[in-house]
Amino acid sequence: MRRVHPPHILLAGKNCHEVRENLRHLLDPEAIKAIDDDIFRNAAGLFNLGYEHFLFAKGLSKSKWRQRISRYYYGAYNAVRSIRLVYNGHYSQYSDDHKKIECFPADFPERNTYLNRLSVLRDDRNLCDYDHTANISDLVNDPDEAEDLVEQLFQHTKAYLIARGVNL
């Protein structure tokens, strides 16, 4: 099986799907498949990174509400990044990428619910991470509600990625 060489496929251009399309006429199908496999490997990596945040948050004490919300958010954020990478090749490590947490493919299940509720989770996370005056009653969704939301998101994300060929 062929594999792509370093540097990282995600840094080979602004958008790895565009890179793949540009190379489609230059490379043989096996090489293109190697690119696809690498994109999928990275999507799986993002998914697993997010899930690690999620599991970490689940293991925290109930009293650590700021940390719980923060890690649940990062769990969700990386799940969404994995979806976007597979869906349209988008990948970014800049801070403004957080504004795209509500960007979902049109066929993603419960899309409108996630659009709204993940935006709320992002606002709650900002409150938890940056506002020293905030207390738990300021949250729109308490940490248990955030846990349910992110757990469901991981279920939908896993099914979505597997259906598109990502090995999870």
Partner: protein
Amino acid sequence: MTSSTVEEKLPSNAKDLLSSFEKKTGLSNLRTSLLNRPDGDYLVIYLANPTERLFSILNQVESEVVQDSFFSTKVTLKKSVSENLLQSSETRLFLKSLAESLTASRYSFQEDFFSRYITSVSGAEDKIVAAAHHIVYGRRGAGKSSLLLYAMHRRESPSRISVWIDMQVYAHRQDLKVVTDVIHEIIHQIISQTSNPPSSEHVLRELKSLTGAIDEPSEQNIRNLFPDIKRLLSSVSQHLDDIFIFLDDLHLLDICLQPRLLDFIYAFARGNKVFLKLSAIETFTKLWDPGTRTGLERPHDIQQIELDYNLTMTDRATTHITSILNSRALYCGLPSIHSLCRDKEVLSRLVWVAAGVPRDAINIFSQALSKASFKDQKKVNITNINESASELVSDKLQDIELDSSGSLAQANILLGRIREFCVKNKRMNAFLVEELHGDPAFTNIKRLIDLRLLHVIHEGITIREAGKKHLALILDYGFYIGIRAARSVQLFNKQTTQASYDEFRRLPVFTLANGDHQALKKSPDQ
């Protein structure tokens, strides 16, 4: 920072968001709270079940509402079941939605149609969309019009034309002006949906003139127009995939005229990619007149779709009716239909008292819900269902009482004998009657079934003599449920489970008397 919850006085931004959301969803007086945070206000709207559809509306509202200050308000939905769900906004919307479901017209639900439509138990949807002539049979409220509407909505494409005619406006008529008016309407609807239509003025003028004349047009007058009509439709249909003509409730037309009307339409439909989709109640319908050889003959010319299985498949009927009610409940933001019911027996009883007819079930449940809400109950119970069923029977009896043709008079007398047999003599709501197909008296039994006053619970039961088959029926629940005097009536299959064959065989046999068919002389042969 501390956040505060302000429920009564919302700032203008939040009010605009809430009011727009309520307007778009049909919900009203929703429970809300407002969180004051350094990053702006958060309006939280509480619903028993904030579904994807409601979030979609919320996102639309948030993008449309122009906020009037620098500090914008954000909005979200949260799940919170009201203490008294029956009094909630979601339940009020549910009741409204049920009321809207009771009559299906071509404009029912429009763009929401598929999100509310529940497929039939028999998979009739695949058949009705086929390019063939079809008649859909079933009792009133079985979902005939909904099935035709399903086909119409599935066809939305510029290369497919749909004509919809509600036969209610021609109820009981037998004159040939009905024919000219229906054909006029068909051509008018086809032309109005055609880009660059051929000239239709001459044909439409002639048809209008025949309809408006003092004298009834002759059959020859009408047939003289057919070559022009056929050419007109041919020039339209050659650019199309097909044309479907939906005639809803054909049985309302006088039974003598039904085969004649179909014969006329078929004359110009044939070979022009024009297909008829009819709905009707079987015992009040005549597609083919063997004497004059007019109409549509089954199965050569037209295929039948049976939509109604009475109570012979209660498990399927229960699933179907529960699905219909559940989809409406979810649509309105309720957790499920079960959340409104005291226990699962409520829906089982509902299916039995409605005899598997979806519209009757919707009607009875709607009434039962209103009663429970009025009595400040937390949930709908079986008593509410029984009371509502007993009230519905008077509506059904009106169909007999208002019948002016006299063809139902004997059926009404027969019903009286059956009521006495069940309620007074045998004190049992179920009975057997011998299946005498073609016998006029047995036709009256079938008419009472179509009027939803008797309900089939099993077919083809043999008691003693081989070859003699019996139909197991129950008298409509409304005649003895919820009425103090009739409480001693033993209910067959009270637990609404699957009854055994032996239980059916042990039912009392009702014998049809000679007089049970006499009034049928007034109505034509079936």
